[in-house]
Amino acid sequence: MNWRKIRIITWKDILEVRQNKSVLISMILVPLIIMVVLPVVMLVIANTTGSAEALNDPDLAIMFERMPASLSVMLGEMNEVQLSIAMLLGFLFAPMFLIMPLMLSASIAAESFAGERERKTLEALLYTSATDTELFIGKALAAFVPAVLVSLVSFLIYTVVLNVGGYPLFGYLWFPLNSWYPLVFWVMPAFAALGVGATVLISAKVQTFMGAYQASGSLVILVLGLMVGQASGLIYLSVWVGIVLGFIIWLAAGVLFFLAIQQFNRKALLYQSAH
């Protein structure tokens, strides 16, 4: 395996992504809305009214009622307002964070795999001496690495926003909660890998970037499922739940990657481009 070739494939794809306005906008807007705008709105409301009821979220009441004892320990001696903020932005919002690696990796992978075919540049790439594996890894990294990096930066920004915005209510740096560490360093990369694997598989069936991106966007249902699960009290993203969830997602991503590698070969790709 030639890592110089892999690096140049990754470099080229990232360079192309940087020039693609639609992908670039989604890379900026999604984190901005999820990790800055929404929490700032919540914090402004809480700071202004100083009351949990002002957040007017019936889901919180259910979460409070069904919260396991282990989580109560993590939240410590928080008052009602602090607890509302912690439940909303520390727990209920946690799955929202996972939308980012999924959407970003899917959009870059769609650009990289389906977009290459759409722009008719695939054939020249396949005529190079890079092996199928080198091409696949180079392209997969081009989607995975930026998605993980942007998600990490977003997490840092989210941490700053919650601590700065929440300081008048908490009086100390309350975020991140322990449950976020497995989420950020274990589950988030797994979701990025899942997005890449799914998009590569979908890209083999569709001819355009948009087709691949829209189809892989349906993975967001997984994240919505987590949100509903938390809101209904069925599941809480505690440390252990995060570790187990990460393991499951990595496993699923591994299966998708295995299937994607099987079908990523010159003959199949050329045949798909011709038909």
């Binding site: 070739k5 054939e123 020249a124 010159r266 003959k267 050329l270």
Partner: protein, 332 residues
């Protein structure tokens, strides 16, 4: 400017050898029975209508597809298990320029240079050489999306020549170009080919282009060989002799007696002062001229007429429709 010239290597005269090649896409037989060879340093043309199997042949030669039958050797490698080696030593111009339009010309060349295994310094040096040679130096830092079709094709050609390839595959090199750009690209192919001593295999359905560039041709139809050989050899397949157009100073009354001149195969009278004479070979021309003078003809002009490739091609395609088998025009 170029330091690498591929000298003719006696130990590897034939750079491509294809024998009874077959290929199927599902149930569709794309290549039926193709046999040809390409010698070191020559320009070999695969000529045929769309769907004849030209591009499929190039893909098979590069190990992109696995042949259903027959044998292939490219630069001594079998594409079945050494496609990577072949692609490392060959350059290709695909049917579309296939450039990354959001990247600059230099970035495009750098990308393909690294994938071809060139060192960074070599890529830089070669990029400047090629941009200069192909007249793109001033636009090297511009995105290729802003280039005209002709410029894109020239950049794609420089990409194909980036590694000093021993063998170059050109798939419809002037397709979609305006006449001026097409002439420019053809001249570049001819010049650079001579400078670098590259063996070139061209796929085309442009007969004029094939006639201008190719040393030998393979005329294909529906994945099989109609004829192979140099243009003079192919001409002989459709017409065994050569034609002379003769114009007389005054009307020549004894035109019918021309047929009896030694070396004349046939004669067509065009007007009282103009005839077309088919002779067996170049060597017969002096005898025919002597014979005409002997008959009292006053020759104003005598011009050997070569059958254009277009006529050869169409006659061969039509003869195939009439059920004739493939021809081999040459000894190679």
């Amino acid at each position: 400017m170029f330091h690498v010239k591929h000298e003719k290597d006696k130990s590897m005269e034939k750079i491509i050898e294809v024998s009874h090649l077959q290929h199927k896409y599902g149930d569709f037989q794309a290549i039926q029975d193709l046999t040809f060879s390409v010698e070191h340093g020559e320009v070999f043309g695969l000529l045929g209508p769309n769907g004849a199997g030209k591009t499929t042949t190039v893909r098979l030669l590069n190990g992109m597809f696995e042949a259903s039958g027959g044998t292939i050797s490219v630069m001594g490698f079998d594409p079945k298990n050494a496609g990577e080696k072949i692609r490392e030593n060959a350059g290709i111009l695909t049917e579309t320029p296939a450039l990354y339009e959001r990247l600059t010309a230099r970035q495009n060349l750098r990308f393909f240079g690294v994938l071809a295994g060139l060192a960074d310094r070599e890529i830089e040096q070669r990029t400047e050489e090629l941009l200069e040679l192909f007249g793109l130096s001033q636009r090297g830092n511009d995105r290729t999306g802003t280039f005209s079709k002709g410029m894109k094709q020239r950049l794609a050609l420089s990409r194909a020549w980036l590694t000093h390839p021993k063998l170059l595959f050109l798939d419809e090199p002037t397709s979609g170009l305006d006449p001026e750009a097409a002439v420019q690209v053809r001249e570049l192919i001819s010049d650079v080919r001579q400078q670098e001593g590259t063996t070139v295999l061209i796929c085309t359905h442009n007969l004029d282009e094939a006639q201008r560039l190719c040393d030998r041709l393979l005329i294909m139809r529906s994945g099989s060989t109609l004829a192979t050989g140099s243009l003079p050899e192919l001409r002989k397949l459709v017409s065994p002799g050569m034609w002379l157009e003769v114009q007389f100073w005054q009307p020549f009354e004894q035109q019918e007696r021309i047929r009896s001149i030694d070396g004349v195969l046939s004669m067509e009278a065009k007007s009282p002062s103009e005839v077309r004479i088919e002779v067996s070979s170049d060597a017969a021309i002096p005898r025919v001229v002597t014979g005409l003078v002997g008959l009292g003809a006053q020759i104003l002009r005598l011009q050997p007429q070569e059958i254009p490739l277009e006529q050869v091609y169409l006659q061969l395609q039509n003869s195939n429709h009439n059920g004739h088998k493939g021809h081999n025009g040459g000894a190679k």
